[in-house]
């Protein structure tokens, strides 16, 4: 089946938009200007101004000299693209595939859509009617190729429909600009007297390529349908937002809870249908006096369980100050993720629902104490005790290396080693006694030394010689000596942990 394309051109996009927002400007000449090289230059002028001889590219001062009544406003950068983008999204009602054609056009892939409006004629009329109703002047064209549709839109008869196979006939009488060429090439063509497409369409291709480059042939082929042309369709942003308007302002916590429950049920129903779950959500409460109170939650895993999400919000409801009352609740899910059933096992053996329960429990805990209160550790490939662990970033992350079990490690590790006084024979015998927190421990049994070097690429300092020692009461400690013995200074001893 052949493709059918519609191109829409808004010749007066910006000025039409201005009139729509300020209807008073309808019968007044006005223009937009932007600074270029330090001068204010007209970028767009409405039809009244244009008929008085004001054209884009003119300096604002000159234009004002010609037409003192001219109203000039600033042309905000990006305004046109924003406008055309919103029209592109609006046009999705006509076809699922729409693309923008910067700066002021749209391309619609109307293949297989027009019969829903009766005929191609009715299809175009419907679009024109709606856009005109909004106050925008438009020109439309329809053809089998984007190139031809574009050409007839910009240079052909008003709203022409080119039937299949008639592309070249439609193009013949149009000027070369209709082929979307670079200004340099069109200028060259005009200088050579090639003022219509018909004057060069039958020339040998090699001659055209040599004279005007490959782009002319490409554009010609695209217009005639010999070459495919791709468009980048617009995907409208899915907004995960629910609103609840209250007739009477809500002032009580139970009222807020009821509103929140309703919003959550709506959003969760939508999420469930699309197999998505939310990771962060914000409840915005618009107060009567115009202030906005908001509370936010986050989850450890994507969830569409309204009951669970409500529990997370519930912890924070008392932070909302309703004051005179809340008239509008807006629930927004800023971060939404796909829920994939395959990833729903935690450590491989548990079933899906029960895992969710653990994730929900952790959500509640992190909702109350902050996410950094939850830790899970994985082994890291370091001998240095403080670095032998790393934090797991997710609930399901698996260790990449084995837990080491070959050396004895204390069940309790002091976060910072504490200095102890030690009596120890030189050079590397275990200590005979040590004093910790004022108490003298006589050592009966000892293991060691186990030397752990610093990782010089991470930090500098002395190595540690660790000893596992047991005193006469049977308590076991992890002591270490920082560095070696030397002539000048005795090395310092520290306690670093307790064995069971």
């Amino acid at each position: 089946m052949s493709k059918r394309y519609v191109t829409i051109w808004f010749p007066q996009l910006l000025t039409n938009w201005m009139v729509r927002h300020q209807p008073l400007l309808k019968n007044i000449p006005f223009a937009f200007s932007a600074p270029v090289h330090g001068r204010m230059i007209i970028t767009t002028a409405n039809t009244i101004a244009a008929s008085a001889g004001i054209f884009p590219g003119m300096a604002v001062a000159d234009a004002k000299a010609i037409l003192p009544a001219l109203q000039v406003s600033d042309d905000k950068p990006g305004q046109v693209i924003k406008l055309i983008m919103s029209f592109g999204e609006w046009c999705i009602r006509y076809t699922p595939i729409t693309a923008i054609d910067p700066p002021d056009g749209l391309i619609l892939d109307a293949s297989g859509c027009t019969h829903l409006w009766g005929s191609e004629q009715h299809y175009l009329i419907d679009i024109i009617k709606h856009l005109n109703h909004f106050g925008y002047q438009v020109k439309l064209g329809m053809a089998d190729t984007i190139g031809t549709a574009w050409a007839v839109t910009h240079f052909g008869q008003n709203n022409s429909i080119i039937s299949s196979g008639n592309e070249s006939a439609a193009l013949l009488e149009l000027p070369p600009e209709a082929l979307r060429l670079e200004p340099l090439i069109t200028e060259k063509l005009h200088r050579l007297g090639l003022k219509t497409i018909s004057s060069f369409i039958s020339m040998p291709r090699s001659a055209l390529r040599r004279r005007f480059g490959k782009s002319l042939l490409l554009r010609l082929d695209q217009a005639l349908g010999f070459e495919m042309e791709h468009i980048e369709p617009i995907h409208p942003l899915e907004i995960w937002q629910e609103k609840l308007v209250c007739f009477d302002p809500i002032r009580t916590a139970p009222g807020i809870e009821i509103a929140l429950k309703q919003l959550l049920e709506k959003i969760c129903h939508r999420l469930q249908k699309e197999e998505k779950g939310l990771r962060t959500a914000t409840l915005k409460c618009h107060r009567v006096d115009g202030r906005i109170e908001q509370i936010a939650i986050g989850t450890n895993r994507a969830s569409y369980n309204a009951g669970h999400l409500f529990k997370l919000f519930e912890l924070k409801i008392n932070t909302i100050a309703p004051d005179l009352g809340i008239e509008l609740f807006v629930l927004e899910a800023a971060k939404v993720e796909d829920i994939s059933a395959l990833q729903e096992t935690l450590w491989g053996e548990a079933n899906v629902i029960e895992d969710l329960k653990i994730a929900e429990l952790l959500d509640r805990i992190s909702g109350r104490f902050g996410a950094n209160s939850i830790h899970r550790f994985l082994p890291d490939e370091h001998y240095w005790p403080e670095r032998s662990l790393k934090q797991a970033s997710t609930l399901t992350e698996e260790p990449t290396t084995q837990w080491r079990n070959d050396q004895r490690r204390p069940i309790q590790l002091l976060s910072k080693p504490e200095p102890v006084e030690v009596t120890a024979p030189v050079p590397d015998y275990p200590p005979m006694s040590f004093r910790y927190k004022g108490k003298l421990h006589n050592i009966k049994k000892a293991d060691g030394p186990e030397r752990i070097e610093r990782e010089w690429w991470l930090d500098s300092g002395l190595p540690r010689d660790y000893y596992c020692v047991e005193d006469e009461e049977g308590h076991r400690y992890w002591l270490f000596r920082a560095g070696h013995y030397d002539d000048e200074k005795l090395p310092a001893w520290f306690i670093h942990g307790f064995f069971a």
Binding site: L346, W347, E349, A350, E354, D355, K357, I358, L361, L362, R364, I365, R368, F369, S373, I374, H375, R376, F377, L378, P379, P385, S388, L389, A392, E398, P399, W403, R404, N405, R408, R409, P410, I411, Q412, L413, L414, S415, K444, K445, A446, D447, C468, V469, E470, E472, E473, G474, H475, R476, Y477, G497, F498, F499, A500
Partner: protein, 245 residues
């Protein structure tokens, strides 16, 4: 005659237990902690899961011994099913050492909070989650009311809870099926070798509801408990305990 009497007493005790709310467990879901004398000290001759256990420790050294003993018990509970939460307001536990007591350290999730009251809240929430195998809470100060809440939570969810009270301000009673005290003992190196031997504890079961308190000297030898029979103290041999218990 004597055996007749003890038989009658046995039967009476068994009749009383269900009246007191202690359910007899089928052998299938009975937990084997790997040390029969301790199991015999509890009603129905089995270590109660789905209940609260309280551990008291005074010095840092005995806190370390308690942590390790609890870890060893946990390894038995986790092996059957799942994941364990460790709630603490002042954690010094070194996860890398847990491997030696039979626990894969990444199966533990640590909740580090600032205050005892926060730890209690987290622990109560965790104990309500049936999916967890066990919850350990290092809570220094806990009153009877708070512990009752925890007890109610475990009765419903069947999660086993451990309260570790390190250096408690007072030894107030709490709602738990048992109260323990673990201290380390001098180790005995194998066959006169130098160095430090296997971890040894003096395990005291101070209180046990409907059971018999006791005290044992246990060695953690290669991933299992082993009773230590001190050479200089003559105690009732292990076999005898098993027969009469």
């Amino acid at each position: 005659m004597l055996s007749n009497k003890s038989n009658i007493i046995d039967q009476l005790q068994k009749a009383i237990l269900p009246l007191q709310g202690v359910k007899s467990l089928s052998s299938a879901n009975r937990l084997d902690i790997g040390f029969r004398p301790i199991e015999l000290a509890f009603p129905n001759n089995s270590f109660p899961t789905g209940a609260m256990h309280e551990f008291i420790s005074e010095a840092s050294e005995s806190a370390a011994a308690t942590n390790a003993f609890v870890a060893a018990l946990l390894s038995r509970i986790i092996n059957k099913s799942g994941i364990c939460l460790w709630v603490s307001s002042s954690r010094t536990l070194f996860p890398a050492a847990m491997e030696a007591f039979g626990i894969t350290p990444h199966r533990l999730i640590f909740i580090d909070v600032k205050k005892d009251t926060e730890a209690l809240w987290a622990m109560e929430e965790a104990l309500k989650c049936e999916r967890l195998a066990a919850v350990v809470g290092e809570i220094r100060n806990i009153n009877l009311t708070a512990s009752r809440k925890l007890q109610l939570a475990v009765e419903k969810s069947k999660v086993t809870g451990f309260i570790l009270r390190h250096h408690p301000p007072n030894l107030n009673p709490v709602a738990a099926v048992s109260r323990w005290k673990i201290n380390s003992l001098p180790s005995k190196p194998e066959d006169g070798l130098p160095g430090v031997g296997f971890t040894r504890w003096n395990v005291e079961l101070l209180k046990v509801r409907n059971g018999k308190p006791g005290s044992w000297q246990i060695e953690w030898a290669g991933n299992q408990f082993q009773q230590v029979i001190p050479a200089d103290v003559i105690e009732m041999p292990l076999q005898l305990v098993r027969q009469t218990g």
